[in-house]
C-alpha cells in the first residue's frame, strides 16, 4: 500500500473544498480542523494492481485570509492546482502557488483543474483559451457541483504512484 500526502492549491472560492467533498464524501468530524486551519481527508485509489491512499490536505473554511504555510506544502507528494473558470485572476494565483510548491518540493506532481465547468457559459475565457494559458501541462475541466471530471482529476494524480 502506498500512502501519499497531497494538497489542494488555488485561489479563494475556486471550489477546492467542494472538490474534496465531492471526491471523498467523508463524514469525518472537522471540529479540530477548524482550529488548525487544515482539513485532512482520505481516499483510496486503485492504480494498476495496487492501492494508493491519498491523504488530502485542504485549507479549511474561508482561506481568504489564510497564508499557505510552508508546513502545508511540506512533504506533499502532489497537488491539485485549482482555478475557477469564471474568474481569470484565479489563473495567476494558481500559477504562483505552483511555483511556490515546486520551489519547496521539486518532485511534486501536479494536476491542473479548471473548476465550475457547469457554468461554462459564464467562463471568463473559453475552455480552449484556458488550455492555452495553462502553459505547464494539461488541464482537467471539473465541476464539483455535477461531479464532472472530479474522479478523473484525483485519479490522474494518484496514477503517478
Amino acid at each position: 500500500m502506498i500512502r501519499k500526502k497531497i494538497c489542494l492549491l488555488g485561489a479563494f472560492a475556486v471550489g477546492k473544498s467542494s472538490l474534496v467533498r465531492r471526491f471523498v464524501h467523508s463524514e469525518y468530524d472537522d471540529r479540530y480542523m477548524t482550529t488548525v486551519g487544515v482539513k485532512v481527508e482520505k481516499k483510496e485509489c486503485q492504480v494498476g494492481d495496487h492501492q494508493v491512499s491519498l491523504v488530502i490536505w485542504d485549507l479549511h473554511g474561508e482561506d481568504r485570509w489564510q497564508e499557505v504555510r510552508a508546513s502545508y506544502l511540506r512533504g506533499t507528494a502532489g497537488a491539485l492546482l485549482v482555478a475557477d473558470g469564471t474568474r481569470i485572476e484565479s489563473l495567476e494565483v494558481m500559477a504562483q502557488l505552483r511555483k511556490r510548491l515546486l520551489e519547496q518540493n521539486p518532485d511534486a506532481h501536479v494536476v491542473t483543474l479548471v473548476n465550475k465547468m457547469d457554468r461554462e457559459a459564464d467562463f471568463a475565457i473559453t475552455a480552449d483559451e484556458w488550455r492555452a494559458r495553462v502553459d505547464w501541462g494539461p488541464v482537467v475541466f471539473t465541476s464539483a457541483r455535477t461531479g464532472h471530471g472530479v474522479e478523473d482529476a484525483f485519479q490522474s494524480l494518484a496514477n503517478h504512484w
Binding site: 500512502r3 487544515v38 482520505k42 508546513s71 512533504g75
Partner: protein, 598 residues
C-alpha cells in the same frame, strides 16, 4: 480579488504565525477573521506593533536619501496609499512582505513570548469557557450517578468515604481511575503519512490515517505559531476525551491515544520504542516514498505500547496524599467533563459497559462497529459467565447496542473455578479449589461421585493436575470397616459334628453378614472379596481333627448357597500345632477386600 498573497521567501514561513504575512490586514475590515476565530483586532495590538515597526524602519531609510520626501509627508499618505494599493492588487503586499517578515522574525527571535502572548488571549478564554461549562455538567451528572448508586460496590465505597471522611465523589473517582492505550500511530515526520498503526480496540469510527494527518496538522500549527524547529513540538494534547501523547524523533513521530491518565513510564516507553524503530528502519525511513508496506514489521513493537493500566492505589492517610488525591480527582473530573461534552451520556455509558465487560471474567469484546446512535459489538462470551445484568449497569437496550457473542471457553482463573464446579457438581462436604491449573478436592463423598469427579476433573479446561489426596470415598471406607469387623469370624460346629447347623442363629447371622458384605462390594463395582477358610479345633476335641475336611466342604457349600457374586473362596490347610487351637471349634474365615482404585 482576495486570495492569499504569494510569499516569495518561504523559508521563513515555518516560524510565522498564521496570517501575519498579509499586509492588508491593517487596512481591511475583517482582515483578522480567519478560521481560528481571531476576530478581536484589539488582541492583535502587540502584533500590530511588530508589523508597523519595520515599516517605520523603511521610512527612516527613505529619509536618508537626498531630496527624499519628509517622514511626515510619507506618514500622511501611507495609510491611504496602502489601502488603495491593497484594493488594486497584491503588489504592495508583496513588496512589503519580506521586510515585514524580517521585522517579525527578529522581533520574534528577541522575544518569542510576545507572539505566544498575542495568540494566547484568543485561545485562553475559549478554553476556560469550555472547561467551565463542561465541568459543571460533569459534576451534575456525576452527582446524579452517585446518588443513584446503591450497588454493593457503591455501598462499599460509601463506607470508605464515611470511614476516611472524604467526599464520596472523590472515592468513586479514585476507584474508577484507569488508563488504556487504545491506538498507537507511527507517523513519518516529513510527509505526515501514517507508517503503521495498531489498535487495542476495534473502532471503525476512528480512521488512523485521518487521525495521524490531524495530529500532524495540529503539530504543524503549534510549531508554526509558537516557535521554530522542534522546540515547540507538542508532547501531549487532549482531544475529545482522549489524551494523545507524542514522542518526536528525527524522522518519525510516535503518537498514542490514551483514555484515562497514563503513567510517566508510558512516555518513557514511547521514546525507547521510537529510538529502536529509528534504528531498525533507518534505511526505510531515509528512502521513504509512500510505500508503507515496508513498515509492517514494526507492528509488534507498536503493540508493545498497547495495554491498560491498573487503577490508582488506595488512598493513603497523609495530608500530602490527600492533596494529591484531590488533584488527581480534579483531573479526573476534567477528563470526565471533556468526555461528556464529546460523547454525551450514551458514550460514557457504553465505555463504562466496555470497561466492565473487559474486567468481567468470561467476556471479551473484540469489535465495535456503528456510530453514535447504534452500535454492534462482537466478541466472545463464556456460557458460564455471569449474566449481562450482573456485569453491566445498563441493559443493551439502554446502550442501544446489538451484541453478537460467540461462545468460548475462558481460561481466566475465575472461569476455570466456575467451570470445575459446574462440571463436577461437588456435594455438600467437598471443597473444590483451583489454582494455577491444578484442582484440589477435599472432604467426603460417595464413591459414585468420587469416580465421576476423578474421571472428569482432568478434562476441565485449564486444569492440568488433580490432587484428590484429601478426598475420602465414604462407600469404600464403609466396606473396609464392614470387612474388618467380620474378618476372623468363625462358623461354629457342634461338638463332634460334621454338619453345619444352618438353623443356628449365630450361623445364620454370620452368613447373612457375609452376604451383605458381598452385595456392597458388588455395588461398589469391580471389587473382589476373598475369603480364606481354615478349620479350627476346640481344645478338647482331638478326634475332631478328622472332621476338618468335611467341615470345610460344609462351609463352602453353605457359602455357595448364598450366591455370592463378588467373592472367591480359598481353603487353607489346617494348622498342625496346638497354638492354633481356638476356644471354638469350626471354620474360621479371614477376609480380604480388593477394591479398585479410582
Amino acid at each position: 480579488m482576495g486570495d492569499s498573497p504569494i510569499q516569495p521567501d518561504e523559508s521563513r514561513h515555518g516560524s510565522e504565525p498564521p496570517e501575519t504575512g498579509d499586509a492588508r490586514k491593517d487596512s481591511q475590515e475583517g482582515a483578522l477573521n480567519g478560521p481560528q476565530g481571531l476576530s478581536e483586532n484589539d488582541r492583535w495590538e502587540m502584533l500590530h506593533d511588530l508589523l508597523v515597526g519595520p515599516e517605520e524602519a523603511r521610512i527612516q531609510e527613505l529619509e536618508q536619501v537626498p531630496r527624499a520626501p519628509r517622514a511626515k509627508d510619507v506618514g500622511d499618505v501611507l495609510a491611504e496609499a496602502t489601502r488603495r494599493s491593497a484594493q488594486e492588487g497584491p503588489e504592495l503586499a508583496e513588496a512589503l512582505a519580506p521586510t515585514i517578515e524580517q521585522g517579525l522574525m527578529s522581533s520574534a527571535r528577541k522575544n518569542p513570548d510576545d507572539l505566544a502572548e498575542a495568540i494566547y488571549p484568543v485561545l485562553g478564554p475559549a478554553i476556560r469557557r469550555s472547561i467551565q461549562a463542561t465541568l459543571s455538567a460533569a459534576v451534575e451528572t456525576l452527582n446524579v450517578t452517585l446518588e443513584n448508586s446503591f450497588s454493593p460496590k457503591g455501598l462499599r465505597w460509601r463506607m470508605q468515604a464515611w470511614r476516611t471522611g472524604r467526599p464520596f465523589a472523590e472515592v468513586v473517582l479514585l476507584h474508577s481511575l484507569a488508563y488504556r492505550v487504545e491506538q498507537v500511530f507511527w507517523i513519518h515526520k516529513e510527509t505526515s503519512v501514517l507508517l503503521s498503526d495498531v489498535s487495542g480496540v476495534e473502532d471503525s469510527l476512528r480512521d488512523p490515517e485521518l487521525i495521524s494527518g490531524m495530529l500532524a496538522a495540529i503539530q504543524d500549527f503549534v510549531q508554526d505559531s509558537f516557535a521554530g524547529a522542534d522546540e515547540g513540538a507538542l508532547e501531549q494534547i487532549e482531544v475529545s476525551g482522549f489524551r494523545v501523547l507524542m514522542a518526536q524523533g528525527p524522522k518519525a513521530v510516535l503518537a498514542v491515544l490514551v483514555r484515562g491518565i497514563p503513567p510517566e513510564s508510558l512516555s518513557q516507553n514511547m521514546h525507547e520504542t521510537l529510538e529502536s524503530l529509528h534504528r531498525s528502519f533507518a534505511d526505510e525511513l531515509q528512502e521513504f516514498d509512500g510505500d508503507v508496506g515496508r513498515f509492517e514489521r514494526a507492528i509488534p513493537d507498536l503493540q508493545g505500547l498497547l495495554g491498560q493500566g491498573a487503577k490508582v492505589s488506595e488512598p493513603g492517610g497523609t495530608k500530602k496524599g490527600q492533596w494529591l488525591i484531590a488533584a488527581v480527582a480534579l483531573v479526573a473530573v476534567l477528563l470526565f467533563a471533556v468526555d461528556w461534552i464529546q460523547d454525551r451520556n450514551m458514550n460514557s455509558k457504553r465505555s463504562a459497559a466496555l470497561m466492565a465487560l473487559q474486567e468481567a471474567p468470561g467476556y471479551s469484546v473484540q469489535g465495535q462497529v456503528g456510530d453514535g446512535d447504534h452500535q454492534t459489538w462482537t466478541g466472545f462470551r463464556d456460557p458460564l459467565a455471569e449474566p449481562w445484568s450482573e456485569v453491566c449497569a445498563h441493559s443493551t437496550e439502554e446502550l442501544d447496542v446489538d451484541i453478537q457473542w460467540t461462545p468460548f471457553v475462558s481460561l481466566e482463573p475465575e472461569m476455570v473455578q466456575r467451570r470445575a464446579e459446574y462440571m463436577l457438581q461437588p456435594p455438600f462436604g467437598v471443597t473444590l479449589t483451583t489454582e494455577h491449573g491444578s484442582l484440589t478436592l477435599e472432604g467426603e463423598a460417595s464413591s459414585g461421585w468420587v469416580h465421576r469427579a476423578l474421571a472428569r476433573a482432568s478434562a476441565v479446561p485449564g486444569i492440568g493436575r488433580v490432587d484428590a489426596s484429601g478426598l475420602v470415598d465414604i462407600d469404600r471406607r464403609a466396606i473396609e470397616t464392614h470387612a474388618r469387623s467380620l474378618d476372623g469370624l468363625t462358623l461354629p460346629f457342634g461338638a463332634g459334628a460334621g454338619r453345619l447347623d444352618r438353623g443356628q442363629p449365630v450361623v445364620q447371622a454370620r452368613l447373612s453378614a457375609l452376604k451383605t458384605l458381598d452385595e456392597r462390594v458388588q455395588e461398589y463395582g469391580g471389587g473382589l472379596l476373598r475369603l480364606h477358610l481354615r478349620a479350627t479345633l476346640g481344645r478338647m476335641d482331638d478326634f475332631e481333627r478328622g472332621l476338618s475336611d468335611r467341615r470345610l466342604v460344609e462351609v463352602q457349600k453353605a457359602l455357595g448357597r448364598l450366591g455370592l457374586g463378588a467373592t472367591v473362596v480359598e481353603v487353607l490347610p489346617a494348622p498342625e500345632s496346638d497354638d492354633s487351637r481356638s476356644p471354638l471349634s469350626g471354620v474360621r474365615i479371614e477376609i480380604d477386600t480388593l477394591l479398585p482404585k479410582p
